[in-house]
Homo-oligomer: 164 residues x 2
Amino acid sequence: MVVLGIDPGITNLGLGVVEQVGQKARMLHGEVVRTLHTDPAPKRVGRLYQAVYEAAVRFKPVAIAVEEQFFYRQNELAYKVGWAMGAVLVVADQQGIPLYGYGPPKVKQALVGYGHADKTQVAYMVRAILNLPTTPKPTHLADALAIALTHCFFSRMTGLAPLS
Amino acid sequence: MVVLGIDPGITNLGLGVVEQVGQKARMLHGEVVRTLHTDPAPKRVGRLYQAVYEAAVRFKPVAIAVEEQFFYRQNELAYKVGWAMGAVLVVADQQGIPLYGYGPPKVKQALVGYGHADKTQVAYMVRAILNLPTTPKPTHLADALAIALTHCFFSRMTGLAPLS
Ligand SMILES: [Mg+2]
């Protein structure tokens, strides 16, 4: 099972592709797509769309998993994370890939075993599960891989509902 | 000059196309694209993308103008308006159409003459300027047409900066 994990953001979008076979998981691809805040908004979001589209076509994931954050410090930040999500959602629709959202407590629960684990424990587990030589950096990439692994974990359960 | 005006929203997206020639303006097209909150998120945003894409290809606007609201009652609302904006921004990038954002005071200033006008005055002016038999309904369509006309108004000025 190949899963595309995404840590959505307009300036930094983390993108990690993971393949799970039985109890084993490995990283197929990882990148952080960056855009400049001085660039026009269509160019920024178009670049995110393109990167997600290319990953979807290249790796043919059975699911896209995204980090969902419900409390932002500012309205405007939530709005602009939404721009990035819009691009991801267009790709998911065009390629017919179901999309799932997971909040931080779900990620911690899946990877560390309890919902109040801290971020370094999550990053440590990402490294261990994927058998990586070092902790994935930057954090946006570690977050994207964590989200992909979270979906692998929860997808063993039945009745998982895609994001609406 | 043809302008595509958009009142972005995930459940209701207002879409109005206006053509301005000299001092005259007319409506070429208007619709409200609706999505169901019970539908998967990719399907909803994919539908918005498709509607905006079709309008862009059919009417070849020189600009897309969107309503920008900076204060939302809730974070989650801002986030989901962002989803809709993401779809619009992907179309703008793919079709190479510059995109401009206008807040409500700018719309009121352009159409009524002062930034504190109320919404009924704006709708009345949209009807008058476009020479429509009745006030455009629903409000999301009136809003979209108002945004398109606002761009026609401000585009006469130099130094207009696209949204970033
Ligand atoms: Mg409206």
